[in-house]
Amino acid sequence: MKCTLEGGNARVIAKAIQSLSKIGKELFIEADVHGLTMRSINPTQSAVASISFSRSMFDTFNLPPSGDCFCKIAMKPCLGVFRNMKQVEYCELSIVDNKSKLQVNLRCKLETTKQALIAIVDELNITASVSTDQSPNSIHGDHKLFMEISNSFNSSEEELTLEATPDSLSAKNYIEGARVNDKFMRSQLKLKHSEFEHYQVTEGSVVTFCIKEFRAFLLFAEALNAAMTLEFDDAGSPFIVKIKKHQDIECLLILSTLAPEDVSFSEDYRPRDITVCNTPNASQKRKSSTPGPEIQQKRRLAEDTTLSELDTSLFQFRDRRTEVPTEPASVQPARMLADGDTMDLVDEEAEEEAMLLAVSDAMEASQIPRPSSTEVCFYNTEDAPPTLLPEDNNEEDESIPQSPDRERGLRVRTIFSRCFQNTYVPREPSPNSQMYAPNSDTED
């Protein structure tokens, strides 16, 4: 695969990479007949972002004989390569070395050429079995508006709740009726429907999602100076953000939302919606599962047929999660882990990794009275690519054997996870839940 772009478009791709880097640790690149798509998934699998560049953005675009190609690379080297794009006049991306490295050639002003070789980790791709076209509620507005909404909230806020009624939209950092810490300052921003370019809300709904990924995506919208569309249904259903620019660039962000029964600060994510599937070189299975490429967006969303054929450890983890459906996994510990402990995921031994995660997880559990998600940290361990070190760009293919995974420990942690939590988590009924019988206690 080989494609070239000129400076301005290369800068757009750099901005896209910067936004995706705030979401996930790895970049999934897919090149096919329609263009180049970059995707990223966040560590807790509660958000998936994909940015597609159509073929018209590229000066030349050559695909391999098989017709399409996928690769997954670590995000850190990408950020380093696409950092200073001001001087770039011409950019060339190609896959070399028998599909093991992504070569980036940047021709800059004053006859300077920068070349980088980023090791390809493997050929994975993300598909999301979420339908993005039928959402009852859709709001379309300029990025400046959403920027203002995002700026009204402190940058340390984790979640955003949108309460949409047919007339107005209210953005809050809390959920009505949820009991929170007494020292928590509630903020709310009320907007009328006339402020948006297009506002269609069929019935009122309250959705809560993580603001971090939303902000990352907003950053890209600002770079493109484009408008954003929010599409959502109700609590628990995926929250979709779309950006479209000139038919050339289409971006999609799928966020999971808090389920109606959950209190704030703990978010239930839906791993079943988003799958990571292996696409071996010769296999044509993925192609068959996608419907014809009529609409760009639909093409990215394969049906969830790949679930059954895969028996990697990822899916063992997933099954275990379904056994305990009442355990909302907290995004927070995973996020902290992702930032601090799992930064150099590949460099550390998997054992050490698990130790660090266990320690921080225990600390997290003891400090904050929320259900802690122990499963998530082990997911990261299992996902750690054992062999290649992507940061070391020019090394030979060494295979460093991975230390054995503590799979037994996984089950133990799942069974005893409730021990790490506070004994009592007060929950008030959220407005989404239905009251089947009134309170019959005469004293209350």
């Binding site: 300029d142 400046k144 508006l145 203002e148 009204s152 402190n154 009991r179 929170v180 007494d182 020292k183 928590f184 300052m185 509630r186 903020s187 709310q188 921003l189 009320k190 907007l191 009328k192 006339s194 402020e195």
Partner: protein
């Protein structure tokens, strides 16, 4: 117990936000005393180990708040005493600072009880993107102090100083103190009735004196003529550098003139007249100047 106030003037709102920002930089907790005609905000962290001086702001309610209603818990009381986090208040009011990008129409403060008592700061903002005003609501959680505990939250008294001088350039004083804070752990303020203020920082290696001359003498009154004007008396007091530096660095207000009152060897009293009925006071206690 009820409290309801509304601000309509953009300038006043910006000043109120600046006051809240100043207090947020000084301490974590802020005490709000709501009286019938006045509102006071006090920051007192002297008993904590942090090096923040005692600062309080008195605001005459009729200037800032065209609508101001206060009903205490019981008719015999005349105050509502609330304790809140200064950072929360400052963040809640941050929208009032927006200035050029969007204009604020009004700001309401209301004491409410949702799950816990809080002051709701409701700002009505018009942004350039939209033509209609938007509502931004922040609920700042507060603790209501019962009358039995009021004695520890009362308004400090302005100490009796022998001399008060007006320094016209606050910025200069601030940068000066910033640079001198590494020299010595204590400063000495010398004030003379001739209108001179000397700021001295002494260390083993050097003594640095900054002289401000031709300052306006507010007290003793310059109007008094006769024998009193002939004698020049000098009053001095040493204060802790960290507290002085913390005070000057925290100030977010655009005012440039500050009045420094010196109570011989007892304290330095700083007063900033933000406008006629809005005054910021601070007391820097004296320390023993030891080298």
């Amino acid at each position: 117990m009820k409290f309801h106030a509304k601000m309509l003037d953009v300038l006043y709102m910006r000043e109120f936000q600046a006051i809240a920002a100043t207090l947020a930089k000084l301490a974590k907790e802020c005490v709000m005393l709501v009286a019938q005609e006045q509102m006071h905000l006090i920051v007192n962290e002297e008993h904590c180990s942090t090096s923040s001086p005692l600062v309080w702001v008195s605001i005459a309610s009729k200037d800032y708040f065209p609508e101001y209603q206060m009903t205490p818990a019981r008719p015999e009381h005349d105050l509502i005493v609330l304790v809140m986090s200064a950072m929360h208040l400052s963040r809640a009011l941050a929208v009032l600072r927006s200035g050029s990008s969007s204009s604020v129409h009004s700001c309401k403060l209301e004491l409410k009880q949702i799950q816990f008592p809080c002051i709701s700061v409701i700002a009505s903002v018009v942004s350039p993107n939209s033509s209609e005003p938007r509502e931004v609501v922040h609920d700042v959680p507060v603790t209501v102090v019962p009358p039995s505990d009021w004695s520890s939250y009362m308004l400090p008294k302005v100490p009796n100083t022998q001399i008060v001088l007006g320094v016209p350039s606050l910025r200069l004083l601030r940068s000066l103190i910033d640079k001198l804070k590494n020299i010595s752990p204590s400063f000495i303020f010398h004030g003379s009735t001739a209108g001179e203020l000397n700021l001295v920082a002494e260390s083993e290696m050097a003594t640095i004196t900054t002289r401000f001359s031709r300052l306006l003498l507010h007290k003793p009154d310059q109007g008094q003529s006769g024998a009193g004007a002939e004698t020049e008396s000098e009053i001095r007091c040493s204060v802790d550098t960290r507290k002085a530096s913390a005070f000057f660095n925290a100030l977010q207000l655009p005012n440039e003139e500050i009045m420094i009152g010196i109570d011989s060897e007892r304290c330095i009293c700083l007063q900033l007249d933000i406008r006629s009925n809005v005054v910021l006071h601070s007391i820097l206690p004296a320390v023993c100047a030891e080298i």
